[in-house]
Symmetry: C2
Subunit: 222 residues, 2 copies
């Protein structure tokens, strides 16, 4: 809690402890605003979030908000950025060592559930604002998902699907990402005791999709 890290171009006179530079203080307030927004949007969505509410929650006067963000929309964009950083961290975890197909599936689902429950606020924010009230925030979320989908497609290319076209990989990737989003939303609204069932379902579904994809080319238009 007692961060004494220094920042700036040159170190000042020599401060013993517990002091806080101006930029540190500002950063702390900024974080407090982001956290307050994340907490408050849980009930109402970003659309129902007011500048004054956030300010009161943080403990600053409404006008001070403008020192950090131009508008609620800009705050929203910052939260999109932050929330997807969370998501990317998750993917990094999944990528570490993935031997057999069944293990890929298992670990992917396990990691998904773990991250969603740990980062409820971020995932909830994404889920809500994906179809939320602000056009600019909504668009930002969609761009991130599109980016994400492309990444998964390149990952999938490493599976034994050599002859697949880039288009087909994108289609499968789109399907999987969609299912992942749906599962995340289910995790968010589930009670802890339901998680095992959701995990089982997600595993099965992911396996169905992959098995389906592997058997699909050979079948063609049945």
């Amino acid at each position: 809690m007692g961060t004494t890290r220094r920042v700036g171009t040159l170190s000042p006179v020599s401060i013993s402890e517990a002091a806080e530079s101006r930029s540190e203080k500002k950063e702390r307030t900024r974080r407090a605003i982001l956290d307050a927004a994340l907490r408050l949007t849980e009930d109402t969505g970003l659309a129902g979030l007011s500048l004054r509410q956030v300010a009161k929650e943080v403990g600053i006067v409404p006008t001070a908000f403008y020192r950090h963000f131009d508008s609620i929309d800009q705050l929203g964009l910052a939260l999109v950025e932050e929330s997807f950083a969370s998501l990317r961290a998750m993917i990094r975890d999944v990528r570490q060592g993935t031997p057999s197909l069944a293990q890929i599936v298992d670990s992917s689902v396990a990691v998904l559930i773990e991250h969603v429950t740990e980062q409820r606020a971020h995932f909830g924010f994404i889920a809500r604002e994906k179809s939320g009230g602000s056009a600019v925030v909504r668009e930002a979320v969609r761009r991130q998902f599109a980016f994400f989908e492309r990444e998964l497609a390149t990952d999938l290319a490493r599976l034994p699907m050599d002859h697949w076209s880039a288009d087909d990989l994108r289609i499968l990737s789109n399907l999987i990402v969609g299912a992942m989003i749906t599962t995340s939303e289910e995790i968010l609204r589930a009670e802890p005791r339901e998680l095992a069932e959701i995990q089982h379902r997600a595993r099965t579904q992911l396996l169905m999709m992959i098995v389906g994809a592997l058997n699909w080319k050979s079948r063609g238009s049945d």
Copy 2:
């Protein structure tokens, strides 16, 4: 436009034409409110919809709103009901004569695209409020989807998957419904020229899921 249909327990004195009974007038206003709400939520979501906005759009004084709905939430529930009626009509279309598997897939996707583009407002409303601001409306949407998912599961039981358990059917159904929702959202934000691509993708994905399901049991845990 000139509806002269009579309603009530006994027919009145004999009205020549263009007259409107009290209940007819009320119903017309109610519809106007629902339509206005559907139009206005397109930008902001139900959370950003105010009673006064709706009233102004309809051309009544704000307090008159209460003659029709207790609150915006109640309005929301009525819209959920109406929107899902739209969805059910779609399913009825799909069920009519479905010979081969490939044809089921083709016609399902075609009907989905057709209905979503025709009923943009309703599908858009569902997509938004699925994760929207009002807890009671959100819950109503989710119940409808759950109901829907169960129905699809019984439909799937008629496919050659005799040995499948009810649980497995539900899992597949959940996956398909999820993909259908995702596709609907894509249709809603797509431009007309992109529809062909979306249709192709949805067909492929649905086929992947079904093929995957059919091949899944035989494989087990690979």
